[in-house]
């Protein structure tokens, strides 16, 4: 049975992060969803999951852009107040998780398949606040506490 009344924020950067997130689309079937992504080019792929917010790309090397994306994520979190955030990363997904968590949401994080030997930088931060933290390499469950392996997305 699905949980129809939960409001869920789907957060992922355009590209591999989003492709991986969408492989678990069955899990939020019937829920009230909206999405946060980083580029206009993936808007159409997210259209079926409710309102789409595009916050722009950013990474550690561009602090001003990080701030701009952070403020957009904050506005979205305050406006939407989701019950749950589901994210595969990267930076924008991480910020959305922290902001929504601060406003009372539960956090589901699925670390990207590209993180073989250690978690992503975002994942290492989100691990401390996540309510469900999944990895795609079983070895990582031995290295980190509070992480689970349920399978591979790709």
């Amino acid at each position: 049975m699905v949980a129809p009344k939960l409001k869920i924020c789907l957060a992922a950067s355009a590209g591999g992060h989003l492709s991986q997130l969408l492989t678990v689309a069955d899990s939020w079937n019937g829920c009230d969803t909206f999405s946060v992504c980083t580029s206009e080019v993936v808007r159409s792929r997210l259209a079926e999951y409710g309102k789409t917010y595009v916050v722009g790309e950013c990474n550690r090397q561009h602090p001003i852009r990080v701030l701009a994306v952070f403020l957009r994520c904050l506005t979205i979190a305050l406006r939407e107040r989701p019950d749950v955030v589901i994210s595969t990363g990267a930076a924008a997904g991480c910020m959305q998780c922290f902001l929504c968590k601060a406003l009372g949401a539960k956090v589901v994080w699925i670390d990207s398949i590209t993180n073989v030997e250690r978690l992503s930088l975002s994942g290492r931060m989100v691990r401390h606040i996540a309510d469900l933290f999944l990895v795609q390499w079983p070895e990582l469950t031995e290295k980190y506490s509070n992480v689970q392996f349920a399978g591979n997305l790709i």
Binding site: V2, K5, G16, D26, V84, I110, V116, G151
Partner: protein, 161 residues
């Protein structure tokens, strides 16, 4: 036809030059078409374009007998989904090709599982290019439905509490 692609973001001249040199040395007889990134070094031995829209890109992958690419997850996933023989060369931080060395780890994992061929330097690139026509990749089995079920279980527990 061999399709050489460096992904959408940055050029990867070390790979393009390496394949160009492989042609000079007679390691490749097949026709090659390359996507080399904006501002990438132009190969001498085969045609190349900076970028391709998604449709043209998919068409190149579909037409290719084999693919040579950086070890980006996008290229790997696409090649695997169509069971195309793929040779990957990971981008390295030391040459400024990427911000960290995550491509090395993922490429080694997939090469160990015989899903792709791996070249970590120029010599290996020449060796593996010659193996590429004979390489039959294993099929990767992913279980997104198991992950989906775990997430669903979590959401249902939330609804109850």
């Amino acid at each position: 036809m061999i399709f050489l692609t460096v992904g959408t973001q940055f050029p990867f001249d070390r790979l393009v030059k390496g394949v160009d040199a492989a042609v000079d040395l007679g390691c490749i007889n097949e026709e090659i078409f390359a996507q080399i990134g904006e501002g990438g070094c132009e190969p001498r031995n085969f045609p190349a374009v900076p970028s391709l829209d998604k449709e043209s890109f998919d068409e190149c992958v579909a037409r290719a007998d084999a693919i040579i690419s950086h070890a980006g997850m996008g290229s790997i996933t696409l090649a695997m989904s169509q069971a195309k023989p793929l040779l990957v060369m990971p981008r390295l931080k030391q040459y400024g090709e990427v911000v960290n060395d995550h491509q090395v780890a993922i490429a080694r994992k997939f090469a160990e599982a015989e899903l792709v061929l791996l070249a970590e330097d120029q010599q290996q690139l020449l060796d593996k290019i010659m193996l590429l026509p004979l390489f039959i990749p294993k099929r990767r089995i992913a279980q997104p439905e198991l992950v989906s079920r775990r997430v669903l279980q979590f959401l249902n527990e939330l609804k109850i509490t």
